[in-house]
Structures are given as C-alpha cells and as structure tokens.
Symmetry: C2
Subunit: 318 residues, 2 copies
C-alpha cells in the first residue's frame, strides 16, 4: 500500500487478519483505577500470537502481497518481536522468511524465529551491518522487505489494536500507547481519528530513549538515544512514514524514567496478574506520571507484549 | 451446613456467591498442549477477587450464616489468602472480621487484611498460639469461626471452581487440583462426582509437603511436613471433613519436587503470560510429571491464585 491507511484500509486489514490473530481481552482493575484516579481499560496484546501486537502488522503485510510478490519470501532485520511475527506470518502463507539478526541477539529470540521456520542471517551488531546484510539477502533471494514499522500495511495492521479497544469499550477520552519506531502509535492515531474522533491519543516514551519526543519538538526525525533504557522494544527512532502521521495526529508524548517504568510494570503484574514486558508498561507509567491530566477520564492503555525472560520466578508466595 | 454438600448445595452456593465473585476465564495454549501431549484447560483463579479461589468459599460461608449468626462477626486464623478472602466477605456483609495472624507474617499480608477492614490479632508463630489466640478472640467477641477448609460451606464454595470449568469446557477426562488443607480438592471431587461423573479427579502435592499423599496411604490424617516447600499455600494437613471426601473421591495424588513446581510455574508465566503463585503450578507440574497418564486426554488444571511478591521484575525484555 502506497498511501496513509484510510478507515476502509484499516477495516479491510482487520477482516484480513482476523482468522490469524487473537481478539485480545480488555482488562480492568478497581484497585488500579483507584490508584490512577481514572477509569483504565488495558488492551492486553501480551496475549496476542507470538506474545505481542507485532503479529497483526506482519500478518497484514504478508496477506497484502500478491502471490507473485510473496513467492520468493519476505525479509527483515529485527532482533525483536517483529522477527518472530514475520516468520510466523510467512509460515502460515507457506513462504520463506529471511531474518537478519545481530550475532549477539539472545539465543531465545533466535529459537523463536527458528520455531516458525524463519531463516536467520547473522551480522555484526551495528545498524550499518544489519542494513547491508539485509540488502545482500534480498539481492540473493529476491525476497520482499517487510520493514517493522515504515510500511503502511504494517501500520494498518497495528491500527487494529485500537480499533478493537474502541469497539469493546465504546467511547474513550484517551488512548495511551508506547512509542518506539512508531508503527503502533501511528496506527493507533489513525484508528482514533477514523473511529473515535473525540479520543485523544497520547504516547509514553522512555526518558532514556526520548527521540520521538525530541523529533516532535524539532520537527525532524532525531537519532536514537544510546540503548540504555530497560524498555528495549522502544529504542529505535521514528521513520518518515510514522513520523508524518504522529506529527499530525498525536497530541503529546509523555516521557518516563526507567524506575517509573519498572514501578508501573510491577503494578500490572501484581494487580492484573498478567505478564507484560517493560516496553508494555511505558504507557501506564505515563498515565501515573500525569494523573491530573487523566483524572476521572476513561483511558485506554495498550499493553504491547509479554515476552520477558522469566528469571527468579521462585519467590515465596505471599 | 452440617453435611457433605450435595449437588443442590453446590448449585445454591454458586447462585449465592455469583454477584460477589468473578467467573474466571479458562485459558488454553497450543504450545503447552504440545509440550504436555494433551489438551489443557487452565481455570484461572489468579484472576479471582483477592487473587485466589478462596474468595468463593469465604463468601459462601458468610452468606450462609443467618443474620443473628453473623451479627457478632467472623473469625479465623490464617496467614494466607483465606484471611483476605474472609475480611473481604465480612466487609461486603457489613460485619467484622477478626483474623489471628502470626506476628512474623509478611507486612503485605497484614496490609491486605487491613485493606478490607479486617482486625488483626497477632500471636506467636506456632499452631498452638494461633489456636489459643483464636479461642480468646472468639470468647471475647462472640464471633463465628470460619475455618479455611474444615467447613462444608467453604467446601461448597470452592466446588464452584470445577463446576464453572465443567460448564465451560464440557466433558473433561481429568481435573487436576493442588492439595493443601483439601478445601479446593474436596470441592472439586464433589463437583466432578455430581456434574461430570466420568471425570477423574487427581491431586498434585509438593513432595516436601506430602502429608495428603501419606494420609491416603495410611488411612489416617498425617501430620504436616516441615514448612520447606516453595508452594507455601499447601503446607497445612487435611482435616476430618476434607479427608473423608478426598479419601472416597480422589483417584490419586501425584507428588512433585520444588524444581518441578518452579519449572511448571515458569512455563505458565512464559506461555500463558499470566502471574500465578507457586502453589498454583503444582497441578500442572503433576501433569508434566506423568505425561503418559494424561496423553491425548482433555485435562482441566486449576490455577489457584496469583499472589506472589514481585521481585526482580526488571529483566530485559527478550
């Protein structure tokens, strides 16, 4: 797709991917509502296929290719959830997925890709090496690149998260989503614009990876920060396609510190009894940070995924 | 109630408590099915009010008392989920809850009770001190004792877990539940007997707290083991009421080691993306231990609660 997704594009994307994704639950908690002094609706993409919303965008991208386009496979460079999501989508469609990963990527991520029969090409852990290796793979195989977020079909797929949330809850005053490369956030902004124009979309971003915040201020795509935040799904910077949408439709980016992210994540684990990854907790951390902004409002919070290394799960029950 | 609950007693208990409890979801996972080589149906009582199935039994016990009986309040000794469950039920009914707790109980548990306006009486951390303190409290206040499991109304309340599971899934070949004092297990056995007679009920028990296993062998209620298992909700021994039911209706107890419990708990966290306490993982650990027994069968697994101290929830996402 070569244009910013329309309402109809998002509706069609939703119909297209429905057989292959979960309609994830929306959870509420009276104790968290009390704590945050607003009504919270958590959209639980940690229960999504491959454990993250990325399953939506990758699936829509694969389904949107023609038979000829996808015949030679799809390729991407990713060390995160998109790698697994793309491998899964390719496997469902019966085509090859080629994934360029830094050789330093954790074994568990490589296993995830291999579990869906994705083929891994290792490279040095730099952006330059990732891009040049991907170019080589594409030249060799003839595969189509599916970028994790700078792709309108991917953005339309991610937009279905907010579409479902709005369908389920009805009107919302706010939807808060985390921002990394901006695929989810731009999709969320479009879904709100089309399906609930009065809903204000706000982003949460780690202070240690505040390039989207800086980009909105400067009006240009800023370079990413050094990769130090615990929210390691949010370290990439925006792309031209996502920045253009976010710039126009996202009301504000609230930055949060790593301790605030950890605190929000613990609250979600303890009160909702669900496992979410640190990047997932950034949106809730933003709500807690600016309570007065959200006071007594209906606030949708997108929990993006649940892929964490489970260590130390051996504490005594309380 | 002074008799073993009948089918009608359990049905009435269910109607009675419905307005005050969650009908918790049943979760499935294709990857866990593959791993266990059977079809698993996880009944998620970690999402229950107060974070555990205990909300059911306590609520039914309170609702089954006459206005006169409950006027002077209710009392128990407990350092676990029953203390919170009873305090919550009492608060809903507008009566006092008196909870005897060892002075060494974690602050978080005491806070939980106080959060529901329960009144705490501290004692030395021995069973003798707990019982004598409870006797004093009851003499002083005139409150009715609600035992955590040696109480037929409590057992009828806990039986509604398996009743809902059977309603949701239809026929099951097995239901596996953990056993501590036996309230849940005896309720589960009764529910299966009445509502799905072909379903075999099996228990999981920590090897380090295998008093129920030993009791079934010896035909007498055996003393508890030293409290060393990580599954700290399962350290108590059976009571006369629960033992009589379990002895007649539970087909077998499978004991599992602490490392097996931790492994099962990690799988639940990683694959289902939900937070469960170690005691909750004992039933699943039992299924994994005796795979051949359950092969290709439909197996209900009761996840009893999700109240864990969340430490170290700060690992990098994968």
């Amino acid at each position: 797709m070569n244009r910013i997704p329309t309402a109809s594009d998002i509706e069609q994307a939703h119909e297209r991917i429905k057989p292959y994704i979960h309609r994830t639950p929306v959870m509420t908690s009276s104790s968290l509502d009390e704590l945050a002094a607003c009504q919270l609706y958590f959209k639980c993409e940690n229960f999504q296929k491959v454990g993250a919303f990325k399953a939506r965008g990758a699936m829509n991208a694969l389904l949107s290719l023609s038979r000829e386009q996808r015949a030679k496979g799809v390729a991407t460079h990713s060390s995160g959830n998109h790698a697994q999501a793309l491998s899964r989508a390719a496997k469902i469609m019966g085509v090859k997925a080629y994934v360029v990963m830094p050789r330093t990527a954790p074994a568990i991520k490589k296993q995830g890709v291999k579990g869906y029969a994705g083929e891994i090409f290792e490279c040095e852990p730099t952006l330059a090496a990732r891009e040049s290796t991907l170019a080589e793979v594409i030249e060799k195989t003839g595969a189509v690149e599916i970028h994790p977020f700078n792709n309108y079909d991917v953005i339309a797929g991610q937009a279905t998260v907010a579409k479902e949330l709005l369908e389920e809850v009805g009107s919302l005053d706010f939807i808060v989503a985390p921002v990394g490369g901006g695929g989810l956030l731009s999709g969320t902004a479009l879904a709100a614009k089309y399906f609930s124009p009065s809903t204000v979309v706000i982003a949460g971003e780690p202070e240690l990876a505040n390039d989207a915040f800086r980009s909105l201020q400067s009006g240009e795509i800023e370079l990413p920060s050094p990769p130090t935040s615990i929210a390691d799904g949010l370290l990439t910077s925006l792309s031209d396609k996502t920045f253009a949408i976010i710039r126009e439709h996202v009301s504000r980016i609230i930055t949060v510190t790593d301790p605030e992210i950890i605190q929000a994540m613990r609250l979600i684990w303890e009160r909702l009894k669900i496992v979410v990854e640190p990047s997932s907790a950034v949106a809730f951390a933003a709500v807690l940070k600016e309570k007065s902004k959200f006071a007594n409002k209906k606030v949708g919070v997108i929990l993006t995924g649940g892929n964490v290394d489970i260590h130390n799960v051996g504490e005594k029950a309380v």
